[in-house]
Symmetry: C2
Subunit: 95 residues, 2 copies
């Protein structure tokens, strides 16, 4: 039993709740860009996300350039967006 | 007085010393990809690099997907590769 992708209506509702996350063209991933005062703050944020990712055993695809962090969430096992991505995005929104 | 880019011969020598780093087509940046056992190890490595970056006030452009970390080093102030990138790459090699 793997994890399954959200249905179209579940995905639409999740996106509405999440706010600033954008859906990728293929509807299989969501992304958000974060900007901080400097690298130190950006990496502090990344560390919080990393601890969450390790605990959830669900990992972002992300990049960092100085004060900016770009995060993409998708669930490879579901070949799409799953409840895990939504849970993680909500947790990240709360940081 | 800003920092200046390496000359062609300095760059060639640095690349030979660094080993696994590859020069970008425009010769203004170097990159290396790292693979680890899992996310926890990959982020542990990133944390060491982040502490170095913060201390050197010189920051990588980097991305992470699960156990993989891709690092690009360039010096925007020099519009190219500088001694700072070489110093950082050598330190990263030693981790």
């Amino acid at each position: 039993m793997g994890i399954s992708a959200l249905t179209d209506s579940e995905r639409a509702q999740a996106l509405a709740e999440l706010g600033k996350w954008t859906l990728r063209d293929d509807s299989k991933a969501i992304s958000r860009s974060f900007q901080f005062a400097d690298f130190n703050e950006a990496f502090g944020f990344m560390t919080r996300v990393a601890l969450l990712a390790d605990k959830m055993d669900h990992h972002p695809e992300w990049s960092n350039v100085y004060n900016r962090v770009d995060i993409t969430l998708t669930t490879h096992d579901a070949d799409g967006l799953s409840e895990r991505d939504v849970t993680m995005a909500k947790a990240i929104n709360a940081y």
